[in-house]
Symmetry: C2
Subunit: 419 residues, 2 copies
């Protein structure tokens, strides 16, 4: 069997475990050295392919590659760059094929979310039209958990574990001080379009009165009066109130809470997020002392608290991507299939990319309680397995040890290309 090279790239917002997928892809390629030659990684994702800025992964030691499994961020660089539609920007797609040809790349592994699944599909289709034998496999990743078909998206489980743990820990802090200090705590979490991450905050407590007392989802129109009633109820009955709010929280008319028209002294749009906005409402309407936190990148970079389930799945989809490619499958995505909830069992299946691209998965309505402020048992049954298990990284000198790659570049063979 003739050997050809592989291309791997990371796309979109990175996660705590996208490098575990990279590790899965690269280690599997090394195990299939009969059919796969070198792995070239795109520097800064697909931009690396377009500009022929390729990293020669063969120069990285086995130890360095193994260390990717516990290194957050995107080790080869990722990008927010979406290839436009193929009709008007055909030249970009053709450039990709040219670069692949120039470096004998016949395997294309693209690690990203919905947009990159779409790109992966288009590249696959075009290469077929152009008669270039390319095997394109999409490796799923997104903290937003919005990919279809796959039961969950690698990257989400670790954010979920971080947010659930942080909510639990901070709640113990507030609970112990509420008699004379902070009564309301607001934690802002990611999820502009869907409340998956906010829902994970709901895992921190279960029984009556256990925090968080409110989860505010983008799926439920924000009703200030109702929210404040609930906050007051919690403070009066439990002594304090913990709120997990999605950055995507919005009013009935679709306006984001964070964009509520507040301006600073210079007339500039206020920069604060949802948490300070909501905390301000609490102060104004109820007068309670508050604190707020915005986890931002901390939540999606927190590899130190990754879910073991998530790490294993992230690795598995990377590994399986290579196995599918070697087995001759094309235009596919390894997807996680849930076999059972309790005990949680999962396996990887192969999904056609045409069914993945350009479709979003939203929270099922029955995952949110009737009153709109908490998660249901169905949601809990879905989420809980995803945060199971720990996979602490090795530490050195008090800090997590991370991979340090050489990132040696492959010599260019083509003229420059401006994107």
């Amino acid at each position: 069997m003739a050997k050809h090279n592989a291309f791997y790239a990371q796309s979109g917002g990175v996660t705590a475990v996208i490098n575990a997928s990279a590790c899965g892809v690269i280690e599997a390629c090394r195990r299939h050295s009969d059919s796969i030659g070198k792995v070239y990684a795109g520097h800064n994702g697909i931009i690396g392919a377009l500009t022929e800025d390729l990293i020669d992964v063969s120069q990285e030691s086995d130890e360095s590659i193994a260390a990717l499994r516990h290194t957050p961020g995107g080790a080869f660089g990722s990008c927010r760059y979406k290839l436009k539609d193929i009709e008007s920007h055909r030249v970009q797609y053709e450039r990709l094929i040219e670069v692949f040809k120039a470096h004998d790349i016949r395997y294309f592994f693209y690690n990203g979310g919905g947009d990159s699944a779409d790109t992966c599909l288009k590249v696959s289709q075009l290469s077929e039209k152009m008669g270039y034998p390319l095997t394109a496999i999409h490796v799923p990743k997104t903290v937003d958990n919005d990919l279809p078909i796959t039961d969950n998206s690698p990257g989400f489980g670790s954010v979920a574990k971080y947010i659930a743990t942080s909510t639990l820990e901070a709640s113990l802090d507030i609970a112990s001080m509420c008699a004379t200090s902070t009564k309301v705590f607001v934690l802002e979490v990611m999820g502009r379009h869907a409340g998956w991450i906010a829902a994970a905050g709901g895992l921190a407590g279960q029984g009556e009165g256990e925090p968080p007392h409110l989860v505010i989802f983008p799926e439920v129109a924000f009703d200030r009066r109702k929210v404040m009633e609930r906050v007051e109820y919690a403070v009066k009955n439990y002594g304090y109130c913990v709120i997990v709010v999605s950055e995507g929280a919005r009013y009935e008319d679709g306006t984001f809470l964070a964009d509520s028209g507040n301006t600073d002294a210079f007339g500039h749009r206020q920069l604060g997020g949802v948490a300070p906005t909501l905390a301000g409402m609490v102060k104004q309407d109820l007068g309670y002392k508050y604190h707020w936190a915005v986890a931002d990148y901390l939540q999606r970079a927190a590899r130190h608290l990754a879910s073991r389930t998530d790490v294993e799945q992230a690795y598995a989809v990377g590994e399986r991507a290579v196995e599918l490619a070697v087995a001759g499958e094309n235009s596919r995505m390894p997807a996680i299939k849930r076999v059972s909830d309790n005990p949680y069992r999962w396996e990887i299946e192969s999904a056609p990319l045409a069914e993945v691209a350009n479709r979003e998965k939203f929270m099922p309505p029955d995952y949110i309680s009737e009153d709109g402020f908490s998660i249901t048992d169905a949601c809990r049954a879905y989420l809980s397995p995803l945060i199971q298990g720990e996979d602490f990284p090795p530490f050195e000198n008090g800090l997590p040890k991370v991979a340090h790659l050489k990132l040696a570049r492959v010599e260019k063979r083509l003229p420059e290309f401006t994107i």
Copy 2:
């Protein structure tokens, strides 16, 4: 030897390890059952003593007490309540003695920061005047690391480890996306009066260009032009800029950045913290895409990432407090003494409370670099040992396991007292 009861209370802002000190106190009391009877904990700190709201710790199992070692927050409730001066509020101090008398309490263990050291000293002095034999020992705690004499304050090491780790992890995220996305990331950390926690962020990197590229201390007057020059330099040379900023960052005239007079659309003082304010300046002056995070309570509650050194020291000061009391020492505080930096060795010494109360420890000027934006080698040598070692809590169902106490109350024997 006649047996008498002990009183233990938590005071001020809680930490990830204040319960480890509680564990040390209680376990040591149980080991000294020849001289110490029951341990009564104040519900919500000293307020519990004033209102005779006492928790009977003898009803908690050894397992529950052991679990305190890995439970964040203040398990018996803490408070922000400072006893006023003894001249004008003598009645409060006398009430404390009355409650102690009524419950045969002759050991007073007070777990807190500078204010509580002062209270502990006053209670000790008054009891002597009143002829009531009370042994008062202060157990040090504060994330602010501002207690004198002790080399460091239990609680600080864990926040330091959390902030250093979070800075490292988030920096990897920014670094991998900066070519096409966020160029500047701002992490706001605690420390209204001193830059100890901000300094800990500096541990994330060491070499030229390693993040954080700027640490903004309360000790250094904020100069917008200089800061922006440095941000621009980092973005141009390293592709991105990570800033760790103390909530106490202030201008030359003492105005806090967070109180810069910004108001929202209703004319209310803007609620945003330092991070959004600084991020706004970056956008306005340099136009870079930014993200910001405010760790707030997450940082001081993050027991899941506690420093093992910190946990051991927190336990040790609690344990030693009891040993000092049993040995007949009074008006003392167990203090951490650094024996050597490398290898790090420490021991506990006994410090007179009179030297602890009402004194603050600030960052030595030689811990901040000449340009005011980073930590020096001396600072690194001081901080580094404090974040060494991990002490992950047990996890259950994907979340940290925490202590669940009965918190049974002791029957009241005195008339009500209004505070």
